[in-house]
Symmetry: D2
Subunit: 401 residues, 4 copies
Amino acid sequence: MSSQPKDLQGDPALPPIPRDADDDLAPRAVEARRRAWQEAAQGAAPHVFGAPVPFAAARGKIENFVGFAQVPLGIAGPMRVDTSAGVREVYVPMATTEGAMVASYSRGMRLLRSSGGVRARVLGEGLTQNPILVYQDAAEASRAAEVAARSFEDLQRIVAGTTRHGRLVALRPEVVGRRLVVSLVFTTGDAIGINMAAAATELCARELASRTGAQERYLHGQDVEKRANGRALVEGRGRRVVADATIPRAELIQRTRATPEALVAIQKSYTVGFAGLGTQNWLVQAANGIAAVMIACGQDAAYVTESATGMLDLDVDAKGDLYASAHLPCLLVGTVGGGSGQGTAAECLALLGCSGEGSANVFAEILAATVLAGDVSLMAAFASHEFVASHEKLGRNRPQG
Amino acid sequence: MSSQPKDLQGDPALPPIPRDADDDLAPRAVEARRRAWQEAAQGAAPHVFGAPVPFAAARGKIENFVGFAQVPLGIAGPMRVDTSAGVREVYVPMATTEGAMVASYSRGMRLLRSSGGVRARVLGEGLTQNPILVYQDAAEASRAAEVAARSFEDLQRIVAGTTRHGRLVALRPEVVGRRLVVSLVFTTGDAIGINMAAAATELCARELASRTGAQERYLHGQDVEKRANGRALVEGRGRRVVADATIPRAELIQRTRATPEALVAIQKSYTVGFAGLGTQNWLVQAANGIAAVMIACGQDAAYVTESATGMLDLDVDAKGDLYASAHLPCLLVGTVGGGSGQGTAAECLALLGCSGEGSANVFAEILAATVLAGDVSLMAAFASHEFVASHEKLGRNRPQG
Amino acid sequence: MSSQPKDLQGDPALPPIPRDADDDLAPRAVEARRRAWQEAAQGAAPHVFGAPVPFAAARGKIENFVGFAQVPLGIAGPMRVDTSAGVREVYVPMATTEGAMVASYSRGMRLLRSSGGVRARVLGEGLTQNPILVYQDAAEASRAAEVAARSFEDLQRIVAGTTRHGRLVALRPEVVGRRLVVSLVFTTGDAIGINMAAAATELCARELASRTGAQERYLHGQDVEKRANGRALVEGRGRRVVADATIPRAELIQRTRATPEALVAIQKSYTVGFAGLGTQNWLVQAANGIAAVMIACGQDAAYVTESATGMLDLDVDAKGDLYASAHLPCLLVGTVGGGSGQGTAAECLALLGCSGEGSANVFAEILAATVLAGDVSLMAAFASHEFVASHEKLGRNRPQG
Amino acid sequence: MSSQPKDLQGDPALPPIPRDADDDLAPRAVEARRRAWQEAAQGAAPHVFGAPVPFAAARGKIENFVGFAQVPLGIAGPMRVDTSAGVREVYVPMATTEGAMVASYSRGMRLLRSSGGVRARVLGEGLTQNPILVYQDAAEASRAAEVAARSFEDLQRIVAGTTRHGRLVALRPEVVGRRLVVSLVFTTGDAIGINMAAAATELCARELASRTGAQERYLHGQDVEKRANGRALVEGRGRRVVADATIPRAELIQRTRATPEALVAIQKSYTVGFAGLGTQNWLVQAANGIAAVMIACGQDAAYVTESATGMLDLDVDAKGDLYASAHLPCLLVGTVGGGSGQGTAAECLALLGCSGEGSANVFAEILAATVLAGDVSLMAAFASHEFVASHEKLGRNRPQG
């Protein structure tokens, strides 16, 4: 498998994804797409194409192993993304059983590509863990907070002594009654790094407890872990990414039969709904795209809970074009560790040019661009009142009415 | 594949899951578990055991199909659940790449089983959709609200005319300025039924718009869809399920080295963290178990965002035993439609005795019991400070420190 | 004191509030406004005008009484409101020490009046209390939920037997683990009625506990009481009110130097801020106006926490005019009981034509109109970048730079 | 008026508040309390005792002044607080019309005093403002974020040039799509300082906009202002204060007929309610005490929305005593500026020994101790099921049954 970045800088673009109007699941149609995959990835994807993954690929990833769940995998695109590692054109692998979804994303990607592509950038990174130490009273907790603040560099050294990939980059002690909540932020390289962070947190909490005479100590690392929450939208966790694009008015209307104003009006209406819901997910169908890419790429799909946090912004600019951005402050993804290194997951990451070390930022950027594509596409379908119709046509996976 | 319910009423229980202390991925070990699966399901699971799923199984579930993502699949249990269809003993299939997770759930299931098992019940059901109609001003929106309330039975008839499985069971109009938010609640049989509900919502919204002279109409069905939110915890969506169990003090201490009081103390500490987070997920590792079962069983994993909503309650009762309950108001799962009917998903549902029509409630109840098992297990690991250690030992899927 | 409604239907309007450009606190200036008050209220307001309130007025309202806090009181307006009791023109009494605030509200009221006035309506009413009953396990809690649902009419009778003013109008039982949360909704006439509701809740909870064999019973009436919360925006509490108005484009520009588009753009920007905050108060300065009217009118100012919940909606309509609405689902106010009946409070309510029984709806409608006036005024000040300047000029209550 | 701190260090304590069992509003009874006030404050409080406040006291605090709202004022206590300025014993002035409330606070204060008193400390301080700058796209917003971060010291100088009391102490730029949210944190001395902060924010936003070529600029200072919100609980605003106390088991039982365990059990039950509500106010009746002290002491009562944010923690310690703490991260109060300097407000602040400069921290600490006293008292009333009964007896301000 090859993973070399496809920096375009004027290069020829990826061809459209082959489709067969008669029967898109006919062997010939599937074969054509597999060839497209192979050329884009500069290598085959034998496990995606049907070869059983060997048992050994599951080592350290699961207990009581019995086999593999096989989840249908499609590709969306091509998508053009200006990433931190240069401009890339990619097909995006998505594993799902929700009919019409890959088509929706694919339509959005083509629309954004014909508009010049998406720009996406990681703006920040950090895996927060919040252990709690308990003291006799608030006075002791306050003293402990000062000790904690002064211990930052010592704790950094302790963490540095136990892991090559993780670094403690911030510490914020907060007194809540007789409890001291210690927010620790780690960087974790190209892995999500939760096990590393939990181990480091245990060390830090134990050290602080000993320095301050805590009565109780709760690793409590799980508190933000895999949990949608209000702080997520502001503080972020994992990788904080922004993706944006400008879609020329004519392009939008021609491809989706919706105007920029119609999309903006829908979003204004959404505001009423989202405010009433009390949600931190102000995107549209982010959970769909994130879950599908995560399953394809060997990510921990439980993180879709946190990752589907953010905001979609739509504006009509001075020229009447549509400006669209997706703010995704909590993308919890990795290209090292977890399920990323073997089998179909490794093949999917290779298709994105995101294999292994040095790839996590680009992977997060591609994921953010994917979310933007899906949200613009779905909003356009809402605007043109084509949403239900397209599900009627493509989604044949439901019980007959 | 067989799906007959395994009502125990005194029946012999399932045997422990075979494990191999030397190499649990050795062919012999995997084979032993596959035999256990086969006996429990009263039939083989060829696709889980390695046979490629045919392309046709993906029909209506995905576009631009290229193959299948293969996700490692393990089984946890045995778990004993008192469901609405009788007492069942099951192995629970979980697809994940997070090392130590299946072991954690499995330990919790065995603990609960040796305590007499979990009781789980669906308490309610309903798939909410909230279309928005916009009027000239609040006076017109108020008049429209009255029309909407009066139109409930007409809309029920309209919905009944388009679907056999879905029913409109409630309608609540709410005026917000000049907007009318119409909360529609559907029952959808054994399917999640979102496509059905969206189509019915479109019909209802169009009818109401026409009766009331709305200026604009937003299907807006997506507003709660796949979005963690504050209303979810109170109103619920999909299936509302409760699971509970009482774990004898001695049993808990012997199996986990943790006391009931230690678990309750941790949960009290969590309260500080969860309140500060502003989360609707007051469970512990619910997202893990839900995502893993969803992927195994052909569910739409994007729904983990909503489904991982709820509360874990732990109490020490008068006898010093641990009472534990999981409140899960938003389980969005189905045994009909979606990805449930083919390939490995169908085999996993069969293992649970939850194939097809009439099975969605039991499936939701088993899922709730699974969440309870995982949360009790993880809390006990936290209480005995064994969490990090167990990840060090089992989780070998991370980059080397 | 007179309280007769001032139904305008073509009547002459209230004169502008007299002001003195040189020294607005000069006796002559204050005297002129007091005459205006007297004419509007068709009676004097001796306590507002300086006569000490007798001790007896404090009976039942406070313990350890030592005297009266004297809070500066101004009037804003005139405001024209189309209420459920006809069109009214009023001066609105506001007690505050925040310089520039009354002027801001007054400007907004005059703007709305010259645009034809505000329309405001109570849409619903209900004081929720949520007692909790605890059972041995979830099975018993579920059975108790059924008993509770069946006991609704009995409980209504019990409540009716203890109070003339309050009625139990809804009951919703919700099982959360082994707890049963019983949402009780009361109507309370023209009083806020929290003491009545708490007493009735105690009776209902005791009765249900006895019918169902609850182990524990928590009156827990306070749980929503005086607490900003996410359910408030959707469910409402107290009186749910909508106020709206259309402001002609030319009128807005001439009076505020801001365009409709500028106000809408600010609100769009606010969305980013409010979403990130996780707030249920999507209004602008609602807390200011609500607190000031509450203090003037003898309301319980602690309710500003709940009452300042809602949404401001701004739109440019087809003619280029500004449509503005305020959604206030939780106005907790009364014209009977509490501090409403004596002293300066009674005089302020009389100025609004809202004395005693039958007035609570109109009072809530006037309050909602006041909130709308203040929010439009402040948004216009933001739009014209005059906010800081006006505080520099009017607000002389801060320490010198 | 005297404001000298009453550092106790062994001093004789304040006498109990005089009460008259027959008629507590009889002139003799009121007079006795006024003498107690006078001795505690070492000076009279003529305006509290009935003398009309002169018009001039309203200068800069209100427009269209007509007189004063007179709100019943009582005193609670004595309360003993270990503050940052030494141990103090105080009577706490509360203005309210909610019968039974002052008695409830007073009971709590006496309970805490007989347990050795409350300790309270300001842990941090900062008035946040979040202006928003808008750029062409996310790339420009990202560049602007870097400029903003680099401009911190320049902005500090600019702010320092315009105000003696305020300081810019932190700046955090956050990119959200093409918007840059600039969190600015100010310290403001003993004033709340919102006008100062708004003016400084305007300067900073204008400067940053000019340095970075922003397309639009929203002062947006109001976004957190007077708005309950989720960030408040974690980030705090104004003064962050903790108050705690340990109440000997016997003392609690004797004075309230409730056990420590009963209070802890109620709080556990509250958790279910508060989680479901999605609230940031995990205290019990905080809004009551804060509003009443704010009105008495010339504070801006609209800030009760933000100030009533926090957590009550109750624990049974190893000796069986009750540990209680109140976490109040958003106390927005001042002893300089606003309504604090004149009339009854100045007299009330003097009673607390908190007049003018150097007093804001102690005032915030006394307020936090007051909140703790009220919450412990009310929880004890709930525990002994005396809540409704006490309102029946004391609260005579409601309509008759």
